[in-house]
Symmetry: C2
């Protein structure tokens, strides 16, 4: 079906939403923040209700038109790129926070609510939501990619926070999974299956999430080490000591320099470890003392403490800007952020191997880690039009993944598969690809949901008819 006809028919169908084929809308929905090659959708449908989403999915299934759910466009593996054209389904209009329930620590919100919008509303009730990817992502997108962030070792990823979903399946059936109860054993975990399905099984329209009370006290230790290995040993010892720190973030020398240049943070040069502890006032002081002892023994050269909420917030804001700080190190280049996750016993080796691989391949970039859960990020600055450089980048990501897999880890701790890790998923879970494809076919028999993601050679089956 031609774009103009899709737009006309969809436009007539939508309840409160609208459809666009304007240049800027098509461009905005053709790309993410990263190096992945843009590809335009045929149309952009802006949904404002679940009913809008239902109508779009019924229409698309009937006419075999790809649908690509779009939240904030901040995913990192090309998830939102309409590689087979079709309808980019923009969900930012589903931006209502239906309920905040402080007495039971739950919130119900539309898929288009962003994490910072939620944070502002929760803060008034003394609550917070512990999943914090760098960008101001939408909650629906965070669920679809099973997002994580700096507090995952303590609280878990999105999947652990999502109690219930409203979702629309291909064809237009609306289902409600889970419940407001804190736990359930009622049948298969369809909630957890939709979380992390990257828009390939259906469209999440509303989420009920577990939230937390802001701890009485929090404090950050910021420690500089002569090298990444020492910082890594400190973080592993913090975990092994049973300290359930709120955050344990590691930055290598390159990232520290990038942050200092971009955000004027003024950190001493070296590898940096931020450790945040939280709890009662007395508990925090106890844990700070333990962290200080571990960090000192591991060879920290400087240590600083932040107890003031404003200064702590500034610190974490700076840490969240690392993606943009990396980009600023090579203006005009594109950013490529890749992640692997390994058992803690293997973290030191993976960090060293990553730096050696960056240097060995003559690439530019830094390494950061959510160190308490062994999640390593390599941020590279690349020119997607330089085929030779992109060849070296591909060698690097392949080496990183193979190293992680050989040491009991996974090809992605939090960024997902999207376009960028399809081969990596096949290497990691080759024994399950057929099973995962059959799950996909169960939900989406006509292959219209976000084709070309997670699995190879699927886009061809679901081009607009």
């Amino acid at each position: 079906m031609e774009a103009a006809r899709i737009a006309a028919e969809l436009g007539a169908l939508l309840e409160g939403g609208r459809v666009s084929t304007g240049e800027s809308d098509l461009t905005l929905h053709s790309e993410d923040l990263t190096f992945h090659r843009p590809h335009r959708p045929d149309v952009v449908a802006f949904a404002s209700t679940t009913e809008d989403v239902r109508r779009v999915l019924a229409f698309a299934d009937q006419h075999r038109i790809p649908v690509i759910p779009f939240g904030a466009g901040s995913s990192l593996e090309g998830h939102v790129i309409p590689v087979a054209g079709g309808i980019s389904l923009d969900l930012r209009g589903l931006d209502r926070i239906a309920a905040i329930r402080p007495a039971e620590l739950t919130v119900t919100a539309g898929a288009g609510v962003t994490r910072l919008a939620l944070e502002r509303r929760l803060g008034r009730h003394g609550l917070f939501f512990p999943v914090d990817p760098g960008a101001d992502a939408s909650l629906g997108g965070m669920a679809a990619t099973d997002a994580a962030g700096t507090m995952t070792a303590r609280y878990g990823k999105m999947r652990q926070q999502v109690l219930a979903l409203e979702a629309v399946l291909p064809g237009g059936q609306v289902i409600r999974t889970g419940s407001r109860a804190a736990k359930t054993s009622a049948g298969y975990d369809t909630t957890g299956l939709l979380v992390g399905s990257e828009g390939t099984l259906g469209v999440i329209t509303e989420l009920t999430l577990r939230v937390r009370g802001i701890p009485e006290a929090q404090a950050v230790v910021r420690a500089t080490f002569p090298d990444v290995a020492a910082a890594c040993r400190a973080s592993c010892q913090i975990v092994a000591a049973g300290l359930e720190a709120l955050r344990v973030e590691l930055l290598d020398e390159w990232e520290v320099a990038a942050l200092n240049a971009y955000a004027e943070t003024g950190f001493p040069p070296g590898a940096l470890l931020f450790v945040e502890v939280a709890g009662s006032a007395a508990g925090v002081e106890d844990e700070l003392a333990e962290v200080t002892a571990i960090v000192g023994e591991a060879g920290a050269t400087t240590m600083a403490y932040e107890r003031d909420p404003t200064r702590r917030a500034q610190l974490w804001r700076a840490r969240h800007e690392i993606f943009f700080a990396e980009k600023a190190m090579a203006p005009g280049k594109s950013s490529l952020s890749t992640d692997v996750c390994v058992p803690l016993e293997e973290l030191e080796g993976v960090l060293a191997g990553s730096r050696a691989a960056i240097e060995g391949l003559g690439l530019t970039g830094g390494i950061s880690a959510h160190a308490a859960d062994g999640n390593v990020h390599v941020g590279l600055l690349v020119d997607p039009d330089d085929a030779e450089e992109m060849g070296r980048v591909a060698r690097l990501t392949t080496e990183l993944v193979d190293h992680a897999l050989a040491h009991g880890g996974t090809c992605s701790g939090e960024h997902g598969i999207g376009l960028g890790k399809i081969g990596a998923l096949e290497r990691e879970h080759g024994d399950q690809i057929e099973l995962m494809r059959s799950i996909k076919a169960t939900f989406d028999p006509h292959g219209v949901m976000n084709p070309g993601k997670i699995f190879s050679e699927e886009a061809a089956d679901a081009r607009p008819a």
Copy 2:
């Protein structure tokens, strides 16, 4: 196929395991601990390796013979009862703990390892595993039913602890899901789908689990209240205050009397709340003070503190014996333990409604709750051969479920669906039954895995040919 031929052919196939058609083996594998009507398997296959499991599943799929995975037989909704005959696949021989890794807080163990066997081994390393259903269940069974226990509000159910699985699919394919890394975004969450699938999608043979360091300090407040409502208000306020207590357990007056009679606990009469806090020594004292203030304000008539590890262990051992304490209140009767889970805002009403329903229907039983996550258990003593009484019991469980569903809750917080909650699942997730059935068909096209569980009218499709 006849039992004798199944036994002969399977016996020749097994690598290290054995097959039995002996009376006592068939009887032991015909029932669980509860009132559900026993039904014998045709044979019992005792597996000793994953390869044994693979061979049994290939054979069963080829000949369309039901396979019922059997761990410790301690599930509560009839999960292990071979309602359509077939092969009860006993997994207790998979009892090897392959690795304990204190530095990364993971363990890899066979499906037949029991939780107490694991606990003993972990304790030597200063570690513990936070899922503690009452019985000494097998880890494979705990994963298959997504078991929970007294520490779930703090640490989550089995699904949150399982990092990786080895599982055998119907037909005999062995798959490995997840990894040893603390988190992953590598494709669909097949790990989480197998967890809680109640043996209907495949057989879990090995698990890699997240474990925890034993906290430096722990202490229990034991408070008696004039009624359940006051105890409930105290527990809800503990949650709303953001205290992440290790355990918040509520027992009504009937359960307190049952425990005193069975375990000679000597608790004062009344409704009882146990609140356990854990952390650093100073943190624990801070939290104890907060809990004491909340509990006192809610109207506690007596309060006692337990800091001594041995006395705390005795206390929790007594709490774990509640199932047997209930049974001892009516010798000769069978036990029926049903659970629902509701949002905390609804807990007080559900507790009151449950007691009124027990009395109104002239039944005998008590109420307990994992109060911090709104999980209510009603333990009844019943005579399965008394049709009139069982009719009243059915009315009670229907009322409890409908009340929970009408108030944002779920038909089961931790016991699962099995045989006993099939109708309840249909009422709760009628919009998803078709989807769940198609997931089942994707994994198990011939319907041989634990037929008759979770879904209605399935047993008939998979009787021994």
